[in-house]
Symmetry: C2
Subunit: 159 residues, 2 copies
């Protein structure tokens, strides 16, 4: 059970787009250079973030990406959900209703299987943690030095 690289890439791109806000929109090629990522592949990974309004994609030769809304309003959960989807990691296939359970009346079962309930509670705890952290928090928790380095690097590669 592993997330795709898109989550790491997407979160780092949100961070760097917050840092580089005054230079936005940032071309895909530039954004890719910030982390040595393959540009075409990165573009694909960012598509769901654009679809969800987390990023804004500006078309054209001078186009690129900017944050779709204020960093205070983009949570880790938003980014993870956009890329990995909103369904929990555990999928209940209701095996409790098969075999020994097959003969039981539907009314005998609780609405949610006890196992799915616990897995759902864990999933909720995970989501809560991610929903409580925004890109603005991430900016605040990251050193000014790193932000400055990113800006310097961008200005250099952007000519």
């Amino acid at each position: 059970m592993l997330m795709g690289e898109g989550v790491e890439w997407g979160l780092h791109c949100c961070l760097v787009l917050a840092w580089l806000d005054e230079h936005a929109p940032i071309a895909t090629a530039r954004l890719a250079e910030m982390y040595e990522l393959p540009p075409e592949y990165l573009k694909k990974r960012l598509q769901p973030l654009v679809r969800e309004g987390i990023l804004e994609s500006v078309p054209g030769a001078r186009g690129g990406y900017r944050l779709g809304r204020a960093p205070e309003r983009i949570t880790f959960m938003d980014v993870v959900a956009a890329i990995e989807g909103r369904t929990g990691a555990f999928r209940c296939t209701e095996i409790r209703k098969r075999g020994a359970g097959a003969a039981a009346a539907e009314t005998e079962f609780g609405k949610v299987c006890g196992i799915a309930k616990v897995m759902g509670r864990a999933d909720l705890a995970w989501r809560r943690e991610l929903a409580g952290e925004t890109i603005a928090d991430l900016v605040a928790d990251t050193s000014d030095k790193a932000a400055q380095r990113a800006r310097d690097f961008f200005e250099r590669v952007n000519g």
Copy 2:
């Protein structure tokens, strides 16, 4: 990001083995019938649980499975970790040290990337929830009717 069916199967098997403790060991074929699961496939899914001591596998014609320790001492986390492994769902590949970060001295970076830190905190919240729930809790939360139905079914199919 989806868990394999092994987690659902494994947890339900722990529950039914707790219910059927007095009949243990329970043959693979019987255990499979309890939930209409493919026996060979189920055997494979349960192997990591045996390896971790969550289940005990008794060899021979009259062999089968029983819980490897008291249901109070088997947590959901034990079962999930045995099947899905102990690494978190998020994999940090340290892209912060590439591109714009490549020129920075190693000492400039915090030990853990700020993004990985948040993802790790969420993972911990998830684990805590699963570690706080045991098979004994699950037994207590499941209706006596379901337990009785499982016992009746077993006695019927076991001849």
